[in-house]
Symmetry: C2
Subunit: 209 residues, 2 copies
Amino acid sequence: MNAEMSLSLDGFVAGPAPTLDDPLGKGGMALHEWAFRLAAWRRPHGLEGGEVDVDSDLVERHLAATGAVVMGRKMFSGGSGPWADDPNARGWWGNDPPFHNPVFVVTSHSRDPLEMEGGTTFTFVTDGVESAVAQARDAAGGKDVLVAGGAETFRQALAAGLLDEIQLHFAPVLLGGGTRLFDGPAPARFAVTDVIGVPLAAHVRLRVE
Amino acid sequence: MNAEMSLSLDGFVAGPAPTLDDPLGKGGMALHEWAFRLAAWRRPHGLEGGEVDVDSDLVERHLAATGAVVMGRKMFSGGSGPWADDPNARGWWGNDPPFHNPVFVVTSHSRDPLEMEGGTTFTFVTDGVESAVAQARDAAGGKDVLVAGGAETFRQALAAGLLDEIQLHFAPVLLGGGTRLFDGPAPARFAVTDVIGVPLAAHVRLRVE
């Protein structure tokens, strides 16, 4: 199983003071600038045009390989706030979310699956990340399962030994604060298997050893 | 001016609990494993043999370009402890330090220059990193000045706008604690100008914007 995260050079996946309108926090949009301009990012978001280059090749490969997605409750909700506990929340991703695959949301709040437009179904899993991954594997039709975030779900999956590979997108910015991807004791070793660099990101692929 | 730092994926340049015998702290040696095996690292350290590959090309280019080095007092001393305040300390780097260039040490303790074997002279600068860089520029004979560490001196040089380029060597490990390279509010933007990946490191070169 694979996880994919964009982070700053100082290790943050979101900047300080996130809100529902700005769930990536102060400066956090800069983490994803490398993706926004790409045709491969725009298409699943229902947008036309965009650039095609080594960045988009990488995104296209990942899109094609992915059959199901696992994410945390905050990533579904667009952060943690009162809205995140609304049992009728339809999530932060609009009516036609960009996943176009079954998505398994790790949460402590039980609720019925939520079928969105465009092939995305959110299934809420209350018995932990391992169960979410197992359900995602069954739903992926032989394709890969992607842990899409956020930081807490990523760390849980890594600590549970569920990840074979990690794709980090280092955005060349410092945020100076916010939500760390890696936080606290979690010694681990990897091997760098691939790097691609462009002005807006250093894409580092790692195999978990 | 250029700075070069090895760090873990979770942003540490040294692990927890550094000592004089183990100034890189718990697990910290893993940050430099990519370099230890290289002919280009072994030669300036007075050792024969070693490997020649894309990693060593990068190290050789940097060695050839560097005419003077700036470092902090802790990097000179091998960490911070009682030994670091000894006015007669000859530093952590042995009688023939691997720099083979004039080295300017940012410190609050005034003392005479220390001439070592093999072309390394330590000059102690008590009026800040900008002064150390200015003196290093004069001594570099038209070559580049390298900020070699540690984290505090690196951050001071970055905050003072003294750095044009940064070479980060991400070692594919998590240390879970220790000394952070980036620590606290310091918003900055860069452009990724070059990446090289091998199993033991992702070398990311950045231009300060």
